[in-house]
C-alpha cells in the first residue's frame, strides 16, 4: 500500500491534515523501501540482516530496508499466501529447490541484466549453477551447505571406532556397542523439513537416485527398499533414538549436543552451535558412510527478486551490498555455511578451518536437489512412505512404490 500511488497520496493527505509542516519533508525525500524476507537459520539471522539493513541505509540514504524474519517450516506457505495476495516483499530467501515453480509462474525476476561480469565472478561457480534456469540466473546463493557425519569421539572410541564409522555396516556395529553402553547409536530424523533427505543420504550411498534420467521418480529402485530396510532394522533393534517420527533435525542435533547420541548426519551449521552450546564435547566430522559409493547432499538457498517489485534498482543495490566481502564473511561466521563467494572462500578464517575442509572435500561427490517442479509434493510423498515404514505401518518396497507412483503424478503436472 505504501508503495502504490494512491496509498501514498492518501497517507500524504492524512499527514497534511494532521500536521502540515511535517508533510513536506516526507514528500521531498520520498525514501524507497526495500522489503526483504529472510529465513531464520539461527538466532543470529535476524540481528545480522537488521545490521546489514542499517549499514546499507547509512551508505545509501535514499533507501530503507525492512527485514522480515520467517521460520523455515512456514516460509513457503507465507510466500505463497503473500504472492497470491500481491503483498510479497521485494527480495526473499527461498530454498533453491522451489525456484523452478517460482520461475514457471513468472514470479521471479531474472537477474542477468543487473549482474555485471565482476559481480558474477564473485561467486563460486558450482553454487551459482542451482539458481540458474534455462541459462538465466534467478537466484543468488545466499547459503550453501553439504552434509557429513558428526560423531561423539568418546562414545565411538568406546565402541571401537575411534575415527568414526566409514561404512553403514560399521555404523550398525558401532550403534550396537553404544546401545549396550546406554546411549543412542545413530540418529534418524523422522519429522519436519528434510526428513526425506535424511534417507537420501543412504539411498545415494548405495547408488540409488531420487529422480531418474527420464524425469520420473527412481527412489523405488533396488537401493530404495534396501536402504529403507537398513534404517528400519536399526530402529527395530533400538540402535536409534526411540520414537524417530518425533525427532526433527533440530531435535537430533540437541541429542547430540547433550552427548546422548553417537552419530548424526547434518550440515556445517552444527559446528558453530557446538562451539556455543557444548564446547566441551569432543566430536569428529567424517563423510557420510559409504555403501557402494561415497556421496553426500549439497544444498543452496537462493535469494530472489520478485517480478512485481517496484523498487528493483534499489533491491539490486542491497543484493550487491550483502554479496560484497565483509557482509558475506560475517554471515558465514554466524551461520557456519560454506562460502559461496570466492573472496570468502579464500579468507583465512574459512580456508584454514579443518572442519569446513571436510565439507568442501565432499563437494565433488555431492548431489544437489534436482531442479524439478513440485519438489514439495515429492518430498511429502517420500516422507509419508518413510514415516509409515518407521512406524511399522507398511513394508519398505510397497510403500516406496506407492510413493513413486504418487510422485510421478506430481512430476507430470
Amino acid at each position: 500500500m505504501t508503495r502504490s500511488a494512491s496509498g501514498f497520496g492518501r497517507r500524504l493527505g492524512l499527514a497534511a491534515a494532521l500536521s502540515l509542516p511535517l508533510a513536506f519533508p516526507a514528500m521531498a525525500a520520498r525514501p524507497e523501501t526495500v522489503r526483504v524476507t529472510v529465513a531464520e537459520y539461527s538466532n543470529a539471522t535476524g540481528p545480522y540482516f537488521e545490521k546489514m539493513a542499517k549499514q546499507f541505509t547509512q551508505a545509501n540514504p535514499g533507501i530503507d530496508v525492512k527485514i522480515e524474519v520467517v521460520n523455515w517450516n512456514s516460509l513457503l506457505q507465507k510466500l505463497q499466501t503473500d504472492i497470491s495476495g500481491g503483498t510479497n516483499s521485494d527480495l526473499s530467501i527461498i530454498g533453491t529447490r522451489w525456484l523452478l515453480d517460482f520461475v514457471k509462474d513468472g514470479v521471479a525476476e531474472p537477474l542477468d541484466s543487473y549482474m555485471t561480469p565482476q559481480v558474477r565472478d564473485r561467486f563460486v561457480p558450482i553454487f551459482l549453477k542451482p539458481g540458474t534456469i534455462d541459462g538465466k540466473i534467478y537466484g543468488l546463493p545466499i547459503a550453501a551447505s553439504a552434509r557429513a557425519m558428526f560423531y561423539n569421539k568418546a562414545m565411538l572410541a568406546k565402541a571401537g571406532f575411534p575415527d568414526g564409522p566409514a561404512t553403514w555396516d560399521e555404523v550398525v556395529a558401532a550403534a550396537k556397542k553404544i546401545k549396550a553402553d546406554g546411549g543412542y547409536g545413530f540418529g534418524i530424523q523422522g519429522k519436519d523439513v528434510e526428513t526425506d533427505v535424511y534417507w537420501y543420504y543412504a539411498l545415494w550411498s548405495y547408488g540409488g537416485d531420487l529422480i531418474g534420467s527420464d524425469g520420473k521418480a527412481a527412489f523405488d529402485g533396488p537401493a530404495g527398499p534396501k536402504t529403507l530396510d537398513l534404517y528400519k532394522s536399526m530402529i527395530d533393534q533400538g540402535l536409534t533414538e526411540p520414537g524417530v517420527t518425533n525427532y526433527s533435525r533440530t531435535d537430533l542435533q540437541n541429542l547430540f549436543k547433550q552427548g546422548r547420541l553417537g552419530m548424526v548426519i547434518t550440515g556445517p551449521f552444527l559446528i558453530g552451535q557446538m562451539a556455543k552450546e557444548a564446547p566441551n564435547l569432543q566430536y569428529g566430522i567424517i563423510p557420510v558412510p559409504k555403501g557402494t559409493t561415497q556421496s553426500t547432499y549439497a544444498v543452496t538457498d537462493s535469494i530472489v527478486m520478485f517480478k512485481n517489485s517496484k523498487v528493483k534498482r534499489a533491491a539490486w543495490k542491497f543484493l550487491d551490498y550483502i554479496f560484497s566481502k565483509e557482509p558475506r564473511v560475517e554471515f558465514n561466521k554466524n551461520e557456519g555455511f560454506l562460502p559461496t563467494t570466492i573472496a570468502v572462500a579464500q579468507d583465512p578464517s574459512f580456508a584454514d578451518d579443518p572442519r569446513l575442509k571436510v565439507f568442501v572435500g565432499l563437494m565433488p561427490n555431492a548431489h544437489f536437489a534436482p531442479v524439478i517442479s513440485g519438489w514439495e509434493d515429492v518430498a511429502k510423498d517420500v516422507i509419508d512412505a518413510l514415516q509409515s515404514v518407521y512406524l511399522g505401518n507398511a513394508q519398505a518396497a510397497p510403500a516406496l512404490q506407492q510413493a513413486a507412483a504418487k510422485a510421478d503424478q506430481a512430476l507430470g503436472r
Binding site: 513457503l76 506457505q77 499466501t81 515453480d101 517460482f102 517420527t245 518425533n246 514415516q387 512406524l391
Partner: protein, 318 residues
C-alpha cells in the same frame, strides 16, 4: 432523514410518489416506502454478508473447478478433476473419519466435563472467584499459543508431562507422545476439550442461574435426592443451553485448525489429519489451491447437511 428517505425512494418502486407525498406528514411514512425502507435497513448487513460470505464462497467455488498455480494464478478450468483428485485420495477419507472422531470426542468431552465444572462453580464456597478465574484463564490464551505450550509439555525428552509421570513412578521410560498418531491424536483431543471448557462452562453457569431456586426447595420437601434433583430438574432445564453449547462447539471444533497444525501438522504418516489441516496442507504446503478449494466445498456441504439435520430435529423437538 430527508436524504435517507430520498435514497429509500430511489431504491423503491415509486420514487416520484414518495417524494411528492413526503410533506403531508410522518404518518404516511411507513406505507410510502414499504418497498424501499426494509431493503435499506437490511442493506448494511447484506453488503457485509456479500463481502465476507458470498463473495469468498464464489471465489472458492470457482477455484475448486480450476487449475490454480501455487501462487494463485488461474491456469484454466478443469471441471471436476480437483474433486476427483481429492475423492480418490485415501488421506481424504482418513481425514474425514478423523474429523468425525475429533468433533464428536471434543464436543462430547467438553459438554460432559463442563456440566460438573459449572455445577461446582455455581456452589458458594471459599475461593470461588479464584476457581472461576482459573477455569476461565485458558480462554484468554490464543489457541496457537496454547498448542505450542502443550507441545513443549508433551516433548518426550524434556517435557513436563513425562517428567511428572516419571517422578510419580507411573512410567519408567519417557513416552514418545507425538511419535505415533495413536497417542498424538488423543492428546490433541484432550487439549481440544481443555480449551473448549471455559466457553462451555460459562454458557452452563448462565443456564444454572436462570433456573429458579424454589423448585429445588419443593423437590427437597418432596424428598428428592440430590441425584434426582439433578436428573429431573437441572438437566431438563439446562437442555436448551446444552443444545446451544453443542451447536456452537460443533461449528467451532469442526473447523479448528491450530492445535493439530501446531502439534503434529497432520503427521506422522498423515495419522492426525482432519479435513481442515488436510485442506491447508494441500493449499499452502503442496501448493495446490484447486484441490484444497474442493475440500473446502466438501466441508461446507458437510456442515450444511448437519445444520439441516439439526434444524429438523429442533423442529421436531418443538
Amino acid at each position: 432523514v430527508s436524504r435517507r428517505l430520498a435514497a429509500a425512494a430511489r431504491t423503491g418502486k415509486q420514487p416520484g410518489r414518495a417524494v411528492v407525498l413526503f410533506p403531508h406528514g410522518g404518518a404516511m411514512l411507513p406505507r410510502l416506502s414499504r418497498a424501499g425502507m426494509p431493503l435499506l435497513l437490511i442493506l448494511p448487513s447484506l453488503v457485509l454478508a456479500i463481502a465476507i460470505i458470498i463473495y469468498p464462497f464464489f471465489v472458492i467455488l470457482r477455484l475448486s473447478f480450476a487449475n490454480v498455480s501455487p501462487f494463485g494464478q488461474l491456469r484454466g478450468f478443469v471441471g471436476w478433476a480437483n474433486y476427483a483428485n481429492v475423492l480418490t485420495d485415501p488421506i481424504f477419507y482418513g481425514s474425514l473419519l478423523r474429523t468425525l472422531i475429533w468433533t464428536v470426542a471434543v464436543v462430547g468431552g467438553t459438554v460432559l466435563i463442563s456440566v460438573p465444572v459449572a455445577l461446582v462453580l455455581q456452589q458458594d464456597f471459599y475461593g470461588r472467584s479464584v476457581a472461576r478465574t482459573i477455569v476461565m484463564l485458558p480462554w484468554a490464551l490464543s489457541l496457537a499459543m496454547a498448542a505450542i505450550l502443550w507441545q513443549w509439555s508433551f516433548n518426550a525428552d524434556y517435557g513436563m508431562i513425562n517428567g511428572m509421570l516419571q517422578s510419580l513412578g507411573l512410567i519408567s521410560a519417557p513416552v514418545q507422545w507425538m511419535a505415533r498418531a495413536e497417542t498424538a491424536f488423543p492428546v490433541e483431543i484432550g487439549i481440544g476439550i481443555l480449551v473448549s471448557i471455559p466457553f462451555t462452562s460459562t454458557i452452563f453457569q448462565g443456564g444454572f442461574s436462570s433456573i429458579p431456586t424454589d423448585i429445588y426447595e419443593a423437590a427437597r420437601i418432596d424428598g428428592a435426592s440430590a441425584m434426582q434433583q439433578f436428573r429431573f430438574l437441572t438437566l431438563p432445564l439446562l437442555q436448551p443451553f446444552i443444545s446451544i453449547a453443542v451447536v456452537l462447539n460443533i461449528i467451532h471444533v469442526f473447523n479448528s485448525f491450530p492445535i493439530i497444525w501446531v502439534m503434529t501438522q497432520g503427521g506422522p504418516d498423515n495419522g492426525t489429519h482432519i479435513l481442515v489441516t488436510y485442506a491447508y496442507e494441500l493449499a499452502f504446503r503442496l501448493g495446490r489451491p484447486g484441490p484444497a478449494a474442493a475440500v473446502s466445498v466438501v466441508m461446507l456441504a458437510i456442515v450444511f447437511v448437519f445444520t439441516g439435520i439439526y434444524l429438523r430435529l429442533r423442529r421436531e423437538d418443538v
